[in-house]
């Protein structure tokens, strides 16, 4: 595995990364030569209109997708050269995903949804159940533990998704439009919780198309347009 020598500062580094899709005859440049340095403990928003490549960039950061060009480093390790099984390990251990659609497993209960990522990492039975309980308590979901996703509200589902993302205690939380399917009040609660996680030292990267949300919560905002970074702004937080 290639080590990035001067990556001390950057926890997540995208080095001239491009992702192209072939659509018949033409090539769509979803992300085109993007370089991003995200420091450990940063709260990052990726902004941009539809089709700007923000979700693709997010998938690349989350090692869900492989770049066509360039390198991605996570904590100094080049993850763009890993095989599928190694990538799955990286995702499971280091990254927690939160999706707009919540994406809970409908056939599993709230509790089982939270336990699953730990089971995939081989956390011992006793430990994973204890930990799942702890996380659910923190998210005020313990009384919903035996419910199935379709038996709870959207806000609760997103909290379960956050609980699941926290299961393996990842350093990075990637949230793709986490408030997109929630009413304003519930959405803000979710964002407040992400802030809390950030204060614990976790690196948060979220995709949004709402400048208000980005400005209110993020420390660093990457503005994407046509697959390229248009500008980067820093927000001063109290």
């Amino acid at each position: 595995m290639k080590k990035e020598i001067d990556s001390d500062k950057a926890f997540i580094r995208l080095n001239n990364v491009a992702k192209y899709y072939e659509m018949g005859e033409s090539v769509v440049k979803a992300v085109d030569g993007v370089s991003i340095d995200i420091k450990r403990g940063d709260f990052v928003a990726v902004m941009g209109p539809s089709g700007s490549g923000k979700s693709t960039a997010m998938n690349l950061v989350g090692s869900l997708d492989m770049p066509t060009k360039g390198h991605i480093f996570l904590d100094g390790e080049d993850i763009s050269s890993l095989n599928e099984s190694e990538l799955a390990q990286v995702r499971g251990k280091n990254i927690g995903f939160i999706f707009q659609q919540f994406n809970l497993i409908p056939t599993l209960t709230v509790f089982e949804n939270v336990v699953l990522p730990m089971a995939l990492q081989g956390v011992p039975q006793y430990e994973r159940e204890e930990k799942a309980e702890k996380i659910l308590r923190r998210l005020d979901l313990l009384d919903r533990r035996e419910h199935y996703p379709n038996q709870i509200s959207g806000g609760q589902q997103q909290r379960v998704a956050i609980a699941r993302a926290l299961a393996n205690d990842p350093e990075v939380i990637l949230a793709d439009e986490p408030t997109g399917n929630l009413d304003t009040k519930t959405g803000l609660k979710v964002m407040d919780f992400l802030t809390e996680l950030n204060k614990e030292g976790r690196t948060i990267v979220f995709v949004t198309h709402s400048p208000e949300l980005a400005k209110k919560y993020a420390h660093t905002i990457y503005w994407l347009k046509d697959g390229k970074i248009e500008r980067v702004t820093k927000e001063r937080k109290k």
């Binding site: 869900l64 599928e84 995939l120």
Partner: protein, 400 residues
């Protein structure tokens, strides 16, 4: 290794798609049940044959007319001299002629035609060959002018509505004859409906017609049985003035009979098993189809699983477990149905007089059927499981 959570996830999915899972199970189950039933009856028959070949019949040779009818058409006959020729062949310990005729029996005005068999009670080769054991009463003895009846005469609504009892009189060819014994069931209707008399009494019963032997049974030296069979053939051919290959009789050792019987049986059983295998093959395709649908329905879930750290091999294991589990359940149910139906079939066959045709339930058959069904599930699920494991997580998460 597949974890408890992943097994739980698989089982929930099977439960979630109850109807489809049930149909998949049924489709495999039908083939497995069929295989179980036929192999079970086949094994039962092989056991029966084995018993026969190890029984006292093994050192006997049967000389019969060629063609159908067992020599009852009257055109075929062995003479007493020919019995002597057989007996004097080297390697033959003793030989006896057997009469076989049709007889008319009557009870309460109802007439029936059955076969009557006459043999020499001094040489009870006959009862050895057909493994006849006395059920009640006694064996025939020289000078007896009574009959020993097959087992079916003891049963109501078999020969006549009312059964016979020991010491009853049976009206045989219009003449009252005493019943001195019954043979235990041999397990096949013709033999169990037979009437047995001594040779002398047979000659008395059929004094108007010319009577000659239909079969010759010989007890031989088993060590040289093939040579003895050839010698009997040669001597008998000479006595009857026939050319080689043009004999109107054939000499068969019990080993030969059992062998030809087992070969025929083998072919029938394997043919049926082959048909059952085709049905299992069709069900495997059906299972594969079910699994493909299941993968397509869960593309997004696969994407989610991958995003939370599931490896390709774990996704493969989840789907493979599901299809194997469906196969396993089909195997267990198939075996249960197989036992029930074989048992029921055995009872029905027994009630119509073929008690020898009974299913056998060896442990390996249970295990083999369940393993085979599980493998069928696993093999048919392998390809869909592979395609599930290769799903691209980004495409999968976008999939609606």
């Amino acid at each position: 290794m597949i974890s408890r959570e992943l097994i739980n996830y698989s089982l929930r999915n099977i439960k979630q798609r109850k109807t489809r899972s049930a149909f998949t199970i049924i489709s495999i189950l039908v083939g497995i049940t069929t295989i179980f039933i036929f192999v079970s009856f086949g094994m039962g028959l092989f056991n029966y044959i084995e018993e026969m070949s190890s029984a006292s019949s093994a050192n006997k040779v049967l000389i019969q007319p060629k063609g159908f009818g067992g020599g009852m058409d009257g055109a075929f006959a062995f003479s007493e001299d020919e019995v002597r020729v057989v007996e004097s062949t080297s390697g033959v310990y003793s030989a006896t002629g057997v009469y076989l005729k049709n007889a008319e029996i009557e009870k309460s005005g109802v007439k029936k035609y059955v076969s009557i068999l006459g043999y020499d009670p001094k040489k009870p080769l006959m009862s050895d060959v057909f493994t006849l054991n006395v059920y009640t009463g006694r064996e025939l003895q020289p000078g007896d002018r009574g009959v020993v009846l097959g087992y079916n005469y003891l049963l109501p609504n078999k020969i006549f509505s009312k059964p016979y009892e020991l010491n009853d009189n049976i009206i045989l060819n219009g003449r009252k004859v005493k019943v001195i014994g019954f043979y235990a069931s041999v397990g096949n209707a013709p033999d169990d409906s037979q009437i047995y008399v001594t040779n002398d009494f047979m000659e008395e019963l059929y004094s108007n017609s010319s009577l000659s032997y239909n079969w010759i049974i010989a007890k031989v030296d088993t060590k040289n049985i093939d040579r003895v069979v050839k010698d009997i053939e040669k001597n008998l051919r000479k006595e009857r003035g026939q050319d080689q290959g043009k004999e109107d009789f054939f000499v068969q050792s019990f080993d030969d009979m059992i062998e030809s019987y087992s070969t025929a049986l083998d072919i029938v059983i394997w043919f049926i098993v082959l048909i059952a295998l085709i049905s299992v093959f069709v069900s495997a395709i059906n299972t594969a189809n079910t699994m493909i649908t299941s993968v397509l329905e869960r593309v997004k879930e696969i994407g989610v699983m991958k995003s939370i750290g599931a490896k390709d091999s774990e996704i493969f294991a989840i789907f493979l477990f599901e299809s194997s589990f469906l196969g396993f359940i089909a195997g267990v149910l198939g075996v249960i149905f197989g036992v029930a139906l074989s048992f029921l079939g055995g009872k029905i066959i027994e009630s119509v007089g073929y008690g020898f045709l009974q299913p056998a339930f060896p442990a390996w058959l249970f295990i083999a059927c369940i393993v085979f069904a599980t493998l069928t599930g696993a093999i048919s699920g392998a390809l869909p499981s592979r395609s599930a494991s290769k799903v691209n997580p980004v495409d999968a998460l976008r999939y609606e």
